[in-house]
Structures are given as C-alpha cells and as structure tokens.
C-alpha cells in the first residue's frame, strides 16, 4: 500500500536522525566514558537544551509557513529585558516575590506579542518578504534592547525567579519540563489543529490556500505571534539561568536554530517540517557540543563537525530518496 510507503518514507528521515543521535551518543560515551554518562552531565545537558530547543521550534514554525524569522534571538532577549526591568524594580520596591514573577512573565509575553505582531503585520498585511522584515526587526529589537540596558545587563532578580531556570523537579530540570510542555503544545497546534493545518498549506501555496477561504493573513499573524511567545519563554529561561537579561544572550542560536530546523527535516521552502525531527536535531547538536566540550576538543573543530553533519544528513536524504525513486521508477 502506497499509504504505508509514504508514511514509512517520512518516518525514514527521522529514523536517520535517530540513528545519528544514537551514534553520537554512543561515540561520546565511548570517548569520555566516566564523564559523559554521569547523571550530572545528563542533567546538565537537560538544563542546556531547552533554551535553544524552544528557539529552534520558534524558527521551525515560521519556516513551515514559508517564511523565516531572523529576529528570534532578539525577540527573546528584548522580552526578557523588559520583564527584567519590571521584575528588578518591583522586587526592589518590596512587592511579593510570586506577584513579581507572575507579572514579569506576563510582561515578557506581552512584549513578545508586540514584537511578533510587528513581524506578523508587516509580513501578512503589508506583504513584505519575511527575511527582510525580520532582518529589520532584528536590528530594531536589538536597538530597543540596547537602549533599555545601555549596554549592560539587567539583574537583581529575587532568588525565587532563579527557580525557573535552575531548579529541578524530581531530578528533571524545570526548563526541561517547560520544554516538554512546549513540545507537546506545539505538536498539538501544528500537527493536529486547524491552525497548524493551515500553516502547512500556506507554506506550500499561500494563494491557493487563500482562495480556499482560509484567512491566510490571520494565520500568518498567528505564526509570528506563536513564534514570538516561544521566544519569550526561551528568553525567560535564559534570564533565569543567567541571572540577568542582556541583548546579546543566545545570539549564536540564530543560525544554529535554522540548522536544527533543517536538520530535523523542515523544508526551507516551507510546507514541510516535523516537530519530532526538530527535537531530535536539537538533541544531536546538544550531545555534540557537550560531548566535544567534555572531551576537550577545540571549539572550532566542533563547528566543523556540526557543519559536516548538516551536509552529510541532507546529502544522505537526497541520495536515499533518489535510490528510492530509481528502484521504483
């Protein structure tokens, strides 16, 4: 049955990723047996993964809609900076901790929604190419952040705020718990909901989707808002983990998140992309960075390895799909 074949093929991409993940994991364990497999290390990887993983999902969602969001890292830091200003000034004013934190989260989300609304508005309603819009807003958000911080970092959080990024629940880091929740929520949203269905359709052919009576503009707006909210969550985790908020946190995640999304099987042209693939890709990248750090490999070599894996996996995808069609065609 071609039905099975088709789904089997889609699964194959993720299967390759799974194999690679296991391979790097085993490799790292073999190279640094005592250190890599320590629960402490596993836990610390679980601490590190979410902030990047969330950004990668934020990127993936936009790519699936046929766009790209270059402003993710600055959306994250901008919303955490605005929240940080509020949190630190309120907590100095002696407001109760839980109120402060709750309000801080609300403020971060509100800021990110505003940021996402700018992206969404210009992309969907004005009709500018996403890459350009987000290139502009990237600069804009960085500028606003810098203007607030004047180049420094905003700190002075109450200790309980640090819980968000640093505590564990029965050994599982809180950020990881948040991440899993986000993955599940995104999976429902993208894979099961009307919204997600529309996003995939728009990513393939916005015009035909519009002709089908779907409110393409509103869906696109939703995509950028959703992406921005994810950014804010990542930003909050980062500011809690780093005990401060600053415009440059996570700036190196931008290109990495594109790489993760694509490595995870997202079609850069839009319309295709799976959450599980992206999550697997994020895990692969995490194991490689942590592993090479522990083994003590020159960080530039890590860059080279990641680049090579990216090309390798995509080449593999291409070759296997070609063999497939040869065999049958």
């Amino acid at each position: 049955m071609p039905t099975n074949k088709l789904s089997a093929f889609i699964k194959r991409k993720e299967f390759i990723l799974l194999v690679i993940f296991v391979l790097v994991f085993v490799l790292m364990s073999a190279l640094a047996p005592k250190q890599f497999l320590r629960p402490f290390n596993i836990q610390s990887m679980a601490f590190q993964l979410p902030e990047f993983g969330i950004l990668a999902i934020a990127m993936m969602v936009v790519i699936v809609s046929g766009g790209i969001n270059l402003s993710i890292t600055y959306t994250a830091t901008l919303s955490s900076i605005v929240a940080a200003v509020a949190i630190s000034s309120m907590s100095q004013a002696g407001v109760a901790d839980w109120k402060v934190i709750l309000l801080g989260i609300v403020i971060a989300l509100a800021t990110s929604l505003a940021a996402g609304a700018i992206n969404g508005f210009v992309v969907a309603y004005v009709g500018v190419t996403p890459m350009l819009v987000t290139l502009g807003t990237m600069t804009l958000f960085e500028g606003v952040s810098l203007n607030i911080t004047k180049g420094g970092a905003i700190s002075g959080f109450p200790d309980s705020f640090l819980w968000l990024g640093n505590a564990t629940i029965i050994g599982i880091p809180v950020p990881m718990v948040i991440f899993v929740a986000i993955v599940l929520a995104s999976w429902y949203l993208m894979g099961r909901s009307r919204f997600g269905f529309s996003v995939y359709m728009i990513g393939c052919n916005p015009r035909a989707t519009m002709f089908s009576g779907i409110n393409v503009k509103r869906v696109l707006m939703g995509v950028y808002l959703f992406s921005a909210v994810l950014c804010a969550l990542s930003g909050l985790i980062m500011s809690s983990r780093y005990n401060s908020a600053k415009e440059s946190y996570g700036s190196s995640y931008l290109l990495q998140s594109i790489a993760a999304a694509v490595l995870g099987g997202t079609d850069i042209a839009g319309g295709y992309g799976s959450l599980s693939g992206t999550v697997l890709a994020v895990m692969i990248l995490q194991v490689i960075t942590s592993g090479t750090n522990i083994i003590g490999i020159n960080p530039y070599l890590t860059n080279i390895i990641m680049g090579a894996i990216l090309i390798f996996v995509l080449a593999l995808n291409y070759l296997s799909s070609r063999r497939e069609s040869r065999k049958l065609g």
Binding site: S193, R194, F197, S198, Y200, M201, C204, A208, S212
Partner: protein, 503 residues
C-alpha cells in the same frame, strides 16, 4: 522504419511509484502530418510527451528512432537537437523575462552560443510573431500578458529553432475560437513545409478539423492509430473511453427568485457597468472571448479584487465582500481557472486539499482536526467523483490534469455553498469526465445551488446553462435563454466589432 517517418517509438513503458502510466506504447509520426494523441484523463498522454522531450526516462527496453537515429531514452537537449519541440500544458515560459527573450532563448541554447545578442534576438522574435500574424510587444515582460497571449508566445518559441516535430499538449485550452483558427492556419502552413505535429486535445471538433491521423491511448495502453477518414465522433469516443457517450443537452428551467444581484459594478482595467441577477437553482453561463474580463468578474464577486464601484446584493440586502473569507462567510464558493496555482496545494495530499475548505466541520471544539473524519470524508468524495487513483494520501501533483480538476471541484462540494462561481471547469478534461462534471453541476443546481459558470466552450454553455450572458471587452454584450440560444448568436455578440482586432 520507412523514410517518410520522422519519429518511431516502440516498447515504451513508464512506471511511477504505484502507477504504470505507460505500457508498451508504439507510435510513428510521419513527416508533414498532424497527428492527434487522444485518450481519457490519466491515459498517459502527458507522460508520453515528457518522454519524447527527454524530461522523463522510459523504463528499460524502449526504442526511440528519430530519422534513423536510435536511442533508448532522450535528454532535453538531445531531443531539441533532433528537432523535437514541445509546448507544455503550462507553457514552460519565464514570466520574468521579456516576450522576445522567451521566444528566442531556446534557439541560443540549441546553438550553444556563449553570448546573447539582444538585437538579433529581438529581430528573430519579431519576425516570428509577424509570421504568426499576432501583435505582441516584444519588450513586455511575459508575466504581464494574458494567458492567451502567453500561449501564442509559447508557440512562437517552438518555431524559432528548426523544429521538425512540434508537440503540443492541449494548446487550445486557453484560446478563443478566433485564436484557434489562427493557430490551425499556422499549423497547416507549417505542415506544408514538412513539419510534423503531435497534438493533444480533448476538443473533438478541433481534432477533426486539423488532424490527419489519430493515436488513441487508454489506461496507459496503445489502442491503435487511425486515419481521419472513416472516423467520427462516436467511434473516437468509444475508442477513448470504451463506451459511447453523448453530449447531453440538459433541459433548461426558468427560475425567478434572485439570490445574487450584481448592480452596476466596475473595476478599472477589468470591467465596466456589469449588472445581472443570479437566480436560485440556476446555472448562469458567462461566456465570451478569452480576455473579455469574465475571470475578473468572478474574482470581484469572490472578493479577491473587489469592484471599485457598484453594489452586490444577496437576497435583497447589500453585502460587502472584500476577501475570500467574506465570500465563504456568505456561502460563495469559487473554482478558479488556474487550478495549479490557485485551486490546489499541489505538494499536499488529495485528502488535505479536499478538506481545506471544511476545516471547521472536521475539527472538534478545541480546533483539533479529527483525522478519522477527514479520511472518511476524503475517501467518500474521491469515490463519488470517481477520482483515480483512489489514494487519499497521494500527492496532488502526481494526478493527471483532469483528476486534479475534480479535486478542486470536490473541495467546494464538500462545503455546501449557496453560490458557486466556476471558471472553465472542464478545461483540459476528457469527454467522459466532462459529462460527469456537467451532471454534477446540473445536480447541484437542481438541489438549489446557484451557479455562475464561466466557459469559453460554447457547446458546454449551451448544454448546461439556463441563461447565458455574453461579454465583450469588459462589458455585457448580450443575454440569451439557454434553450433558444445558438452558437452563432453567441459568437456574433462576442466578436461583434472586434473582428478586425482578433485577426
């Protein structure tokens, strides 16, 4: 192979994953003949053409002989070198380049030249357009032309290089009667020069007007080649579909209750002072020459390009439709003319394309899509319209043109609307399927839906429309009743006063 043959193929098969599109095909094309290739939707015509042009490689064992030169398969460059030129269903032109470049570029590639000589290119293009007797600005970007003119450009292009066999996949589907006549005139004069044509069309009258021989494919198999003499419509149809089909003229009904009243709408550069009523349960035919502005009227009503002035009333109250979302809210549906770009999301599955209009119906209160409901509905519709293959998970791009069109229709049938705007619904669809679509449209009308049907095919309009509006250059030129109108009456209104221009 005898020396009067230009092309001879044998044992050509092509297998796609899950589909045997061609099965052991043989065919010869003589020098200086017009050879029709016919068959139902999905019979494999387009696939065969792609093999001849080198886009697809046939399965093992194929024999292709071109003027004594033998091969098992072709590449696009080889095919062109050997004198085969193809005009595809979608023209394969470059919207971002100028008309002149689109015409002349193929020859430069064939010559393998390094540099492009603009002056010479424009001269070549100009000469060919002159030979075709059409007036198109050589320097205009192709994307700004109407579909009909783009078609002529595609034809012009195939004449630039020394094509000895011109293959045309449904070249007349976007052309009006006058333009078709022009094309045929050109084809005949080229035939006299010894150029052969392989010609795909679903329009039987055209086929009989121009073809010397017919090759019939059915379900990927070769049924035989027949001379024009001794063939008639009935025989041809029964060869194609394996059964006899009549072009049913449906009885016309007179309806009175207006559902949609269009009052004096205008849009700059598209249409002027258009007024008409669409009544409950009727099919209102909107016809005219291609480029008369019919598509624009449909798109205006559907909210894609709203009118600048005028009113649209529904059941007597004015409605404002500024976007397709508004239209859908008012239960208006639209089946666009350009199904590839506007009707379908080609890279998604049949099932996804079918349910895209009814997401609200297949999802629960939380907005989550219920997969089982989706599958059931899709499966159901695919069976009802007899779409082949019956695989809801198949990518829509892999369907044949006719089956793709059925998907577009299905997706709007799935969402029952009050008003259906249909633009050239049977373009590129075989006779059998055409009848089915006519029946579907009629049934819908009987069940109370109001249908505004744009079609350039007069027999089709006459067969199913209750009333007919004829458009000419952005204005309404005349109105007829479906049971009394004739082709002649309609044509007269459609071309009156612009005859000279068409020529």
């Amino acid at each position: 192979m005898d020396s009067s043959e230009f092309l001879h193929i044998e044992k050509v098969s092509k297998t796609f994953p899950g589909v045997k599109a061609l099965n052991d095909i043989s065919l010869s094309v003589r020098k200086g003949e017009i050879h029709a290739l016919i068959g139902e939707n999905g019979a494999g015509k387009s696939t065969l053409i792609k093999i001849l042009s080198g886009v697809y490689q046939p399965d093992e064992g194929a024999e292709i002989v071109i003027e004594g030169w033998r091969a098992h398969s072709l590449t696009p460059i080889e095919s062109a070198k050997r004198g085969i030129s193809v005009i595809y269903q979608d023209f394969s032109l470059f919207p971002n380049l100028t008309v002149g470049e689109n015409i002349a570029v193929a020859r430069d590639i064939e010559k393998g030249s390094t540099f492009v000589h603009w002056r010479e290119m424009r001269r070549t293009a100009g000469k060919i357009l002159e030979r075709l007797g059409v007036e198109i600005n050589i320097d205009a970007p192709l994307g700004s032309l109407s579909i009909a003119k783009q078609q002529l450009v595609a034809i012009a292009r195939s004449l630039t290089y020394n094509a000895k066999l011109i293959i045309m996949d449904e070249p007349t589907s976007a052309l009006s009667k006058g333009e078709v006549d022009l094309l045929f005139r050109i084809m005949r004069s080229l035939r006299a020069e010894g150029i052969s044509f392989l010609f795909v069309s679903h329009k039987l009258d055209e086929l009989f007007a121009i073809s010397d021989r017919f090759t019939v494919l059915r379900d990927g198999k070769y049924l035989g080649t027949f001379d024009e003499e001794g063939l008639d419509d009935d025989r041809l149809i029964s060869l194609m579909v394996g059964r006899k089909i009549e072009y049913t003229i449906f009885p016309k009904r007179r309806r009175t209750e207006s559902v949609l009243e269009v009052r004096d709408i205008s849009r700059t550069g598209c249409f002027q002072n258009i007024s008409f009523d669409l009544r409950e349960g009727e099919i209102l035919g909107l016809t005219g020459l291609v480029g008369a502005g019919r598509t624009e009227i449909l798109q205006a009503i559907y909210g894609i390009n709203p009118p600048d002035s005028g009113k649209i009333l529904m059941h007597g109250t004015e409605i404002s439709v500024r976007s397709p979302i508004d239209a859908v809210r008012h239960e208006i549906a639209y089946i666009p003319e350009n199904r590839l770009a506007e009707g379908l999301v080609l890279r998604k599955t049949m099932s996804d394309n079918i349910v895209v209009t009814i997401l609200d119906k297949i999802s629960n209160r939380l907005g989550l899509i219920q997969r089982d409901k989706q599958n059931r509905l899709a499966q159901d519709w695919i069976q009802r319209l007899n779409i082949k293959p019956n695989i809801p998970e198949m990518q829509t791009s892999k369907l044949s043109g006719g089956n793709q069109q059925r998907i577009v229709i299905v997706k709007w049938l799935a969402r029952d609307s009050k008003i259906l705007l249909v633009d050239e619904p049977t373009n590129g669809i075989d006779v059998g399927a055409k009848m089915e679509i006519h029946r579907i449209l009629r049934d819908l009308a009987e069940s109370g839906m109001s249908i505004l049907l744009v079609s350039s095919e007069l027999p089709e309009i006459l067969a199913i429309a209750d009333r007919i509006i004829v458009m000419r250059r952005g204005r309404i030129a005349g109105q007829f009743d479906g049971d009394t109108a004739t082709q002649e009456m309609i044509m007269e209104k459609a071309i009156l006063g612009i005859k000279q221009q068409v020529r």
